[in-house]
């Protein structure tokens, strides 16, 4: 566990656990950017897109959804699912959209930085 903060161009980056949590938030926000979905749909979508690499259990999915909703980035409302059952749909708010953009940028910078450190850029371009 990394307890100290990683400095990145003067910005403070969160510790490893926060990093994972932040990543999950990013994935959820990205998934909701296209259309409103219910919890199950979000998990399925992420699993699908990541070709079964990222599987999200309800134990981390729902706390994350509640957290994002409490922060005002997503909004929930009851609606009907494909098989016509009552389900809670989550939708990105304007604040959430801004947050998503911000997090994507951070992620890109971080990913390219880690890539640089690992010396992967050269291989990738080859």
């Amino acid at each position: 566990m990394v307890h100290h903060l990683v400095e990145y161009r003067g910005e403070r980056m969160p510790t490893s656990t926060d990093l994972l949590q932040g990543t999950l938030d990013l994935l959820i926000l990205q998934t909701l950017a296209l259309e409103p979905r219910h919890g199950w749909g979000i998990a399925q979508r992420i699993q699908q897109v990541s070709k079964d690499v990222l599987q999200i259990g309800q134990g981390s999915l729902y706390p994350a959804l509640y957290r994002l909703e409490y922060k005002g980035w997503i909004k929930s409302e009851w609606g009907n699912s494909d098989n016509n059952r009552r389900a809670k749909f989550y939708r990105l708010t304007a604040a959430g959209r801004k947050q998503l953009q911000c997090e994507v940028e951070t992620w890109d910078r971080l990913a390219s930085a880690i890539g640089l450190v690992l010396g992967r850029t050269v291989e990738a371009s080859r």
């Binding site: 219910h38 199950w40 259990g57 706390p63 922060k71 059952r85």
Partner: protein, 873 residues
């Protein structure tokens, strides 16, 4: 940003419904089952796998709940709900605790309100937090409050940059008179024109000063106070423009100030300070300064700047040598010394009362914590952590102390009102005994702090893990032994604090009784005193004054009912003049080594008027005091001090004035009995008397002995000689003494009340502890009685511990009381001769009360029926 904040706020207030969360999770599970089923599994298998994959729901629920902002607040409300239920379940127990704490917290809030008003709060005028008092101070002596001269003031004002306003005023008394209205003496300030605008004061009627009013040659004007307007002029609406005389000089009334406006303090009349030749002298120092600091300038910075100016003045003018400037707040300037000390002592005293109250409550909680073991072990068994239980117990004790606090707030309001009334006649008018936010902050801190203070030990004890094991084994003795130790310490502590408090109160009471009993030979109910000041412009020299007093005395003695009349520089018990002397046979070259005495100047007949016995020699006659007939009468103590073992009659001594110039030699002509002339002084100087002719002062006290009240006739007599002379401070001597003792009376009452409350609480504490311990030992006592223990055995058995605690408490308490009596020496309580007697009396009283508190449960135990006691459960 705003939306985010509002969202959070919404969720802080409205909770999500639990059923919503469940519905959502169920939907997720159903989807999982459906997915499994569509992969070809049988319905039951699909469900089984889905449930395995899905995992525990409870943890998710908990996790989701904790995402809510402020989710922990729910736990606190839960604790509070539980605490309130506990408080109401044990109604009597809680009532005892709450009322004890109400006393403790109420008294503390009350005294803090007073201390805050006297020592901390700014003066209640606009910009009062920047209002300061400016005076000069001595660089060589410890004197912070010297008035300054008009030229000095002008230099300060023109050179200083720290002040937004800087005004100065004299502080005198003057006589207001006009045809057809008897003359009256008032407090009159001659102030620079800006004194009102500095604090944005407006006149109630007419106007305040204009800058033109203080120019030399301006028409003399006067602004009168509301009280003067009401009492002297019965609130006449057309008062503006009336011509009056101030000390014989005419002036026009231009304004009436609003009710209760007496700035800077206690002023009745204001006149502009018009520069005169006299004022222009640098060694004439009548002024005190008041200023408003510029925003952001501190007291210290202003003081440093003025000190710099003072240093320049000192180097320029010899008369300003050794003087610095002193910039202080009103509280620092006017409430220093004994007042500050008395209020801080009061705060310390109620602090002690609160500690005693907390110790009482802690003891009650300790005894109950033994009875609550069962509840605690059940809660622990159900999975509550130790921290959780401790927290819950602390919330309970803080809830109790808060309840007590609010009850105490009512008590405090009453106490403040009483104190306000008791000090109304003597306290400066800018002090308002009211609560403000500082007081409420202090109050809140007290509630929480005392709750934690008495709660923490019982809470930790009742959750001690090994204690629970001990309980399971039924090993009562172990617990009891350890609980006893803590509660013994608390009782000892209570008794020690009570000794200190009682000593403080006893010193006050002793001083009051001592001083009410001084000079028993004076018939204080028959003697009336009043002060009279002869204005200097009409009574220019000593001859004129002495001539007036001689004529006045003859007429006073002719009033029907008057048995004796005399004049003296100070009524008996009301202060004397201090001077250094030199004895003829003992010349002292070094001025600072000369002995100090205090003296009263008086007319012939004064000794008869106050019934002071002449032991040797004779009273003054009409010639004593004139040139070459300088004479003095010494009290017996003064005679024994300066001429020990000799007959002092016919011996000589002389005074030295402030410029170190000796007077002619004075002959001792008589010796009187001793009397106390300075009630307030802690170390009175040797007292002697001289004839009033010798000094020729213009401000004297009339002392008249008469069974019927002679005041009206006295006034008429004075005004038959001079119609513009008012009498002031006219009172029966008994009332005057009572009034002068307000300090001891008010603070004595306050401290006595605190000490009695403390003593009751401490006795209640020891009673409860012993009674509880005895209750737990009922079976044992029954067995002992059955086996033949005598009543004495049982009394000793029960009381031994209490007696031991009282003894140790008294010893520690006396250890604290001795330093306290030293601190109290600086209060104006009069020299107290009998400190050891006070200590002894206090210790004896407290020991008696404490032993009685132990004896009550002990004699009940001794009277137990052994058969019932053994069956007692």
């Amino acid at each position: 940003m705003m939306i985010e904040f509002l969202t959070r706020l919404r969720f802080l207030i409205f909770r999500k419904k639990r059923s919503e969360m469940d519905d959502e999770l169920r939907f997720h599970l159903d989807q999982l089952i459906a997915a499994n089923a569509s992969a070809g599994l049988s319905a039951s298998e699909a469900r089984r796998r889905a449930l395995i994959e899905f995992g525990g729901v409870e943890q998710t629920r908990e996790q989701c709940r904790r995402q809510r902002p402020g989710w922990w607040a729910g736990l606190v409300t839960q604790d509070i709900r539980y605490a309130v239920r506990g408080i109401f379940a044990h109604r009597w127990f809680s009532a005892a605790i709450v009322s004890t704490l109400a006393l403790g917290i109420g008294l503390n809030t009350m005294v803090f309100t007073l201390v805050n008003a006297v020592l901390l709060k700014p003066v209640p005028v606009p910009n009062g937090n920047r209002l300061v008092s400016v005076m000069e101070r001595s660089l060589t002596r410890d004197d912070q409050s010297l008035p300054f001269s008009y030229p000095d003031f002008q230099d300060y004002r023109s050179q200083a940059s720290s002040f937004e306003f800087f005004e100065a005023t004299t502080n005198d008394a003057g006589v207001l008179s006009e045809p057809g209205n008897p003359p009256q003496r008032y407090q009159i300030d001659r102030a620079t024109a800006g004194i009102f605008s500095m604090i944005q004061a407006q006149a109630f009627l007419g106007r305040v000063f204009l800058p033109s009013d203080e120019r030399p040659g301006a028409a003399p004007v006067i602004v009168i106070g509301y009280r003067v307007w009401q009492e002297r002029y019965a609130g006449l609406p057309n008062i503006i423009g009336r011509q009056v005389h101030i000390d014989g000089q005419s002036a026009t009334i231009i304004g009436v100030m609003p009710k209760d406006f007496r700035f800077p303090h206690g002023v009745d009349l204001w006149m502009p300070l018009v520069p005169t030749a006299d004022l222009a002298k640098r060694d004439n120092r009548p002024l005190q300064g008041y200023a408003i600091l510029k925003p952001g300038i501190t007291l210290k910075e202003a003081g440093a700047e003025l000190d710099g100016i003072a240093a320049r003045l000192a180097s320029q003018f010899p008369t300003d040598k050794g003087l610095g400037a002193s910039v202080l707040t009103f509280s620092q300037r006017f409430n220093g010394g004994p007042i500050r000390m008395a209020f801080l002592l009061m705060l310390a005293a109620v602090g002690f009362v609160l500690l005693i109250a907390c110790a009482d409550v802690a003891n009650m909680m300790l005894s109950r914590s033994l009875n609550r073991q069962r509840e605690m072990s059940i809660r622990t068994a159900l999975g509550a952590s130790r921290w959780r239980i401790v927290r819950q117990l602390l919330v309970e004790s803080v809830s109790l102390s808060t309840l007590g606090g609010f009850l105490g707030l009512g008590l405090a309001t009453g106490g403040i009102h009483w104190f306000d009334l008791s000090t109304a006649s003597i306290r400066p008018d800018w002090i308002h005994f009211t609560m403000n936010f500082t007081v409420f902050g202090y109050f809140a801190a007290l509630c929480i702090f005392s709750g934690l203070l008495f709660g923490i030990a019982p809470a930790l004890r009742s959750t001690e893990p090994n204690l629970l094991d001990a309980l399971k084994d039924g090993a009562h003795s172990v617990i009891r032994h350890r609980g006893v130790w803590l509660s013994s310490v608390l009782v000892v502590f209570q008794f020690a604090l009570t000794v200190v408090l009682l000593t403080g109160a006893a010193i006050f009471v002793r001083s009051l009784l001592d001083r009410l009993a001084v000079n028993p030979f004076i018939p204080a109910d028959q003697v009336t005193t009043a002060r009279l000041q002869l204005p200097e412009d009409r009574y220019k020299d000593e001859d004129a004054r002495v001539h007036f007093f001689d004529r006045l005395l003859l007429r006073l003695r002719a009033i029907p009912g008057v048995t004796h009349a005399a004049i003296a520089s100070g009524a008996p018990g009301f202060g004397a003049t201090n001077e250094q002397i030199e004895l003829e046979h003992l010349p002292v070259a070094n001025p600072s080594k000369r002995p100090w005495i205090s003296f009263v100047a008086q007319s012939p007949g004064y000794f008869d008027t106050i019934h002071l016995a002449l032991l040797e020699g004779r009273d003054f006659n009409e010639i004593d005091g004139s040139a070459n007939h300088e004479a003095a009468v010494l009290t017996r103590d003064a005679a024994a001090r300066f001429w020990p073992g000799q007959n002092p009659i016919g011996k000589h001594f002389r005074f030295f004035d402030t410029k170190n110039k000796p007077t002619p030699w004075i002959t001792v002509i008589g010796i009187s009995a001793n009397m106390v002339q300075e009630l307030q002084a802690n170390d009175p100087k040797p007292l002697l008397f001289i004839p009033y002719r010798q000094e020729g002062w213009n401000n004297m006290a009339l002392v008249v002995e008469s069974a019927p009240d002679p005041l009206q006739s006295m006034r008429k007599t004075v005004q038959s000689l001079d119609s513009d002379l008012p009498l002031s401070e006219a009172l029966r001597l008994r009332d005057a003494i009572e009034r002068s003792l307000w300090f001891v009376r008010v603070f004595g009452r306050v401290f006595l009340a605190f000490a009695i409350i403390a003593m009751l609480m401490a006795s209640l504490g020891i009673y409860a502890v012993i009674a509880h311990a005895t209750g737990r030992r009922t079976q044992e006592i029954g067995v002992r009685i059955a086996l033949g223990a005598t009543m004495r055995n049982i009394l000793l058995l029960v009381m031994r511990r209490g007696l031991w605690q009282i003894g140790v408490g008294l010893i520690f308490g006396l250890g604290g009381a001795i330093p306290l009596s030293r601190v109290m020496d600086s209060l104006p309580l009069g020299g107290l001769q009998s400190a050891p007697a006070v200590f002894f009396g206090v210790a004896l009283t407290l020991a008696f009360v404490g032993v009685f508190a132990c004896w009550l449960p002990a004699q009940r135990a001794a009277g137990l029926d052994p058969v019932k006691a053994i069956r007692y459960q």
